[in-house]
């Protein structure tokens, strides 16, 4: 590990085939997921490694030219250098997609399916409702609420005409 740490200080490349010597017993293979990774993230603008790790001959010569004056680089060369270091620009990575339509459609579908399940439950699983739901019982409840003057100012009993024993028009 010390060897890879020292090397990563000098270069910007990840050591993908590095060798870990552990206490003289042999070599441990370094897993990919333990190495620095590249990802395009708006909140993490400078990834740990460059996008292109293995440069072609053209790219290598471009990197040499980069060591000189940057004013000497043409616009295409600057873009090529950018694309070596980064996979997507901010504009590309931030662009929206139409995925939300599939998501909303899936939501509606599953809500509808749940509705069917609930209907089936109501018919085949639940037992009968209590006797307090019978219409006669409900009438008695309503009469008692009016007798008790529930919400007489703005609510329930306010809408009942006590003189004529009917709902107010």
């Amino acid at each position: 590990m010390l060897a890879t740490r020292a090397l990563s200080l000098i270069g910007k490349r990840a050591i993908s085939t590095s060798v870990c010597v552990r206490g003289g017993h042999g070599v441990a293979k370094v897993e990919d997921y333990t190495l620095p990774a590249y990802f395009d993230r708006r909140e993490n603008p400078l990834p740990d490694i460059c996008y292109v790790q293995d440069l072609s001959a053209d790219q290598k010569s471009l990197k040499e030219k980069e060591k000189g004056s940057w004013a000497a680089l043409s616009n295409e060369e600057k873009i090529a250098l950018y694309r070596i270091s980064f996979k997507q620009s901010f504009a590309e990575m931030n662009q929206g997609s139409s995925e939300w339509k599939s998501v909303v459609g899936g939501i509606f579908f599953f809500v509808g399916f749940t509705g069917l399940v609930v209907l089936w439950q109501r018919k085949y699983v639940y037992g009968p409702v209590p006797h307090t739901f019978d219409p006669e019982y409900k009438e008695k409840e309503l009469q008692r609420m009016l007798d008790m003057r529930i919400n007489p100012v703005e609510g329930f009993s306010a809408k009942w005409d006590y003189e004529n024993k009917q709902w107010k028009k």
Binding site: N75, K78, R144, D147, M148, R149, P152, V153, A158, Y162
Partner: protein
């Protein structure tokens, strides 16, 4: 490819000035609207109700309906 240098500073302040003014004005407008559509009519409704309220008459009516446990209807 010489772009204008983008705005580097004061981004949060600008956003806060914009959104806070909107937030405050909408909240105050909502409070004023609630006051004059809900609380003032409600206060008036209660005032009107109690202007013509005869507590004894209401009590007698409720007693006859038989809802009280301490005072039964006059017939029993």
């Amino acid at each position: 490819m010489s772009l204008q240098k983008p705005l580097m500073r004061g981004l949060l302040a600008k956003r806060l000035r914009f959104h806070l003014s909107i937030a405050f004005s909408i909240s105050i407008a909502a409070a004023i609207a609630f006051k004059y559509t809900v609380t003032e009519p409600r206060k008036q409704a209660y005032a009107d109700f109690y202007k013509q309220y005869d507590a004894v008459k209401e009590f007698k009516a409720m007693r006859e309906a038989g809802i009280f446990e301490s005072v039964r209807p006059s017939g029993e």
